[in-house]
């Protein structure tokens, strides 16, 4: 049940270059949060009418809400200044998260800050598996230790080879899929990252005949389904198409639903 909450910043820590982990007290919101859901943040210090910024829920325990964000523009730059005790207006939890009872062996594929919802998912899934993290450089590879602490096997690929293997994360993905296929295990894919990655993961899910859950990153305005800024063409099981609102009908969709 979504709420408009005044959160109190507990603290934030810089991770790799440009990435931050932000913890807030979000009573009434954090308790309800599910992996794959997101929050809509009114960034303090921007003009009063600046749009809210959406962020996946990176973690939630008790009344604590955790975000992981990358500094990419003026809103996130402003967020760098948040200090313990600051108040932040947050609406959430929003959208529909990942299913928590997978039918196959979970295989997580993250690109950049896409690790955020997957780290929360890894915490809440009943079974552990492999998580693949891709990034341009080592700096874009986050939360490795968190996954490992939870008992997940982490494989990393960076485009410049500065961490893990060199290349796109689809290379270890294809290897994992081949391994599972050979082992006769049906995987279930969960992914969050840029559209290119999601599309690649989705294609593989369809090819492998398994489910592939993709969390889309669309620019948003209202975050609740009221403005129609974040729409995505979708396909029903019967093949008919419809236009969904990523904020309300997603952000997580099954690969077959999406009409790219």
């Amino acid at each position: 049940m979504m709420k408009d909450v005044t959160c109190r910043v507990i603290g934030q820590v810089p991770l790799t270059a440009g990435y931050w982990a932000l913890d807030m007290e979000a009573p009434g919101l954090a308790e309800a949060a599910q992996p794959g859901q997101f929050v809509h943040v009114r960034v303090p210090g921007l003009e009063p009418i600046a749009l809210r910024r959406p962020f996946s829920i990176f973690g939630a325990g008790g009344t604590t809400l955790k975000l992981l964000y990358k500094t990419v523009g003026r809103g996130t730059a402003q967020m760098n200044r948040l200090a313990p005790g600051d108040s932040v207006q947050v609406i959430g939890p929003l959208g529909n998260g990942f299913p928590l009872a997978p039918q196959g062996e979970p295989l997580l594929v993250a690109g950049g800050y896409g690790v955020a919802p997957l780290a929360f998912l890894a915490e809440r899934l009943p079974t552990k598996g492999v998580v693949l993290i891709g990034g341009r450089t080592a700096d874009d590879v986050l939360a490795v230790a968190a996954f490992e602490r939870l008992g997940w096997i982490v494989r990393v690929a960076t485009q410049d080879g500065s961490l893990g293997e060199t290349g796109l994360v689809t290379v270890p993905l294809d290897r994992e899929l081949a391994r599972l296929r050979e082992a006769g295990v049906t995987p279930e894919l969960f992914s969050c990252g840029p559209d290119g990655l999601l599309r690649a993961v989705g294609e593989r899910a369809i090819q492998a005949g398994c489910r592939g859950w993709l969390s889309l990153d669309k620019h948003m305005v209202c975050g609740v389904g009221a403005c129609l800024a974040c729409v995505q063409r979708l396909r029903r099981e019967d093949g008919t198409e419809w236009i969904g609102r990523v904020c309300r009908d997603g952000p997580v969709f099954e690969a077959r639903e999406i009409v790219w």
């Binding site: 408009d4 009063p48 009418i49 609740v224 009221a226 403005c227 129609l228 729409v231």
Partner: protein, 309 residues
């Protein structure tokens, strides 16, 4: 706080602007929508309409530019999927309608007249984001006159054309619309606008152009509402850049009978209720016992000052 907006009986003067509050249900978990004076829903045409490609919006100083392109479920879809919830609110429902021909507007009006719970129609003749319909109708007084007359014949529902702001003389449009049978007038819609990405040298919006909304347009809206009020014999619903009670009160003083909160909903969904409480407090503080006392109370004589240059 009651207001009669040309037959739309509002228990208070605060509604939401079309397109910024979905179909009422979306924000209902965050805001007590039953406290609104009316709920104005997103633009509807006869058939479902898919709107414009993405990106559909961009943030700019003082607001945003949008080109949603009037995506909507069509009359039947709206009546089926959204009216049931809206009826439960007990709040008047204003449906924003559009079409690409006079006949389509009229047909939408006719059909909505038969839908239980629809309290009034806001005629969108000023959307800058669709090629046909919208702004093309709204910037020629004769077209406005003809369209309003046609729709008038198709419905007994209160009819409220929403005027285009990008005209030199809004009074011509006020007269045209009210003489053709409008019961109220809404203004303003967004201002035609464009934003270019200087690195790609492409328009940011897929639709190229869009409409500017938010605080940036408030002083423009006040001027138009005030000017419209000079010749309006029907009540005015004012909007454009309301972020709190003050901007709403400015509109009422300028001549509006009711106000609509738009873009601000996206940032703070409680804005309409804050505006409502602020107007109540203002009336109390100034010993006024109705919104009507505030409407058009602008005093045009300047106080005696030593300000002649």
């Amino acid at each position: 706080m009651r207001v009669d907006l040309g037959g739309i009986r509002m228990k208070n003067p605060v509604t939401v602007a079309s397109g910024t509050f979905g179909y009422g249900a979306e924000y209902a978990k965050l805001v007590d929508v039953t406290r609104l004076g009316a709920i104005t829903v997103k633009g509807i045409r006869l058939q479902p309409w898919s709107g414009n490609p993405l990106p559909r919006h961009v943030e700019v100083p003082g607001g945003m530019v949008n080109a949603i392109g009037l995506q909507g479920p069509g009359v039947e879809g709206f009546a089926r999927d959204y009216m049931p919830f809206l009826r439960t609110t007990g709040v008047p429902v204003i449906v924003n309608i559009w079409g690409t021909s006079e006949e389509e507007y009229a047909e939408v009006a006719r059909r909505l007249s038969e839908v239980e719970g629809v309290s009034g129609l806001e005629l969108n003749i000023s959307c800058p984001n669709v090629k046909e319909g919208g702004n093309a109708f709204g910037t020629d007084p004769r077209a406005v006159s003809s369209l309003v007359a046609t729709v008038r014949r198709a419905t007994r529902l209160p009819l409220m054309p929403k005027l285009a702001p990008n005209v030199p003389d809004i009074k011509l449009f006020v007269r045209a619309a009210q003489e053709a049978g409008a019961d109220a007038l809404a203004l303003i819609n967004t201002l035609p606008a464009m934003v270019i990405d200087i690195e790609t040298r492409r328009p940011i919006l897929a639709n190229k152009v869009g409409g500017l909304s938010g605080p940036a347009i408030h002083p423009v809206a006040v001027k138009l509402v005030w000017e419209a009020a000079q010749v309006a014999r029907v009540p005015l619903l004012a909007m454009g850049g309301i972020v709190g009670p003050d901007e709403a009160i400015e509109f009422l003083i300028a001549g509006a009978s009711a106000v609509a909160v738009g873009t601000a909903n996206f940032i703070d969904p409680t804005t309409p209720l804050r505006v409502l409480e602020g107007i109540e407090a203002y009336l109390r503080r100034h010993g006024m016992n109705s919104v009507a006392a505030l409407t058009g109370s602008l005093c045009m004589t300047n106080p005696a000052t030593n300000v002649e240059p």
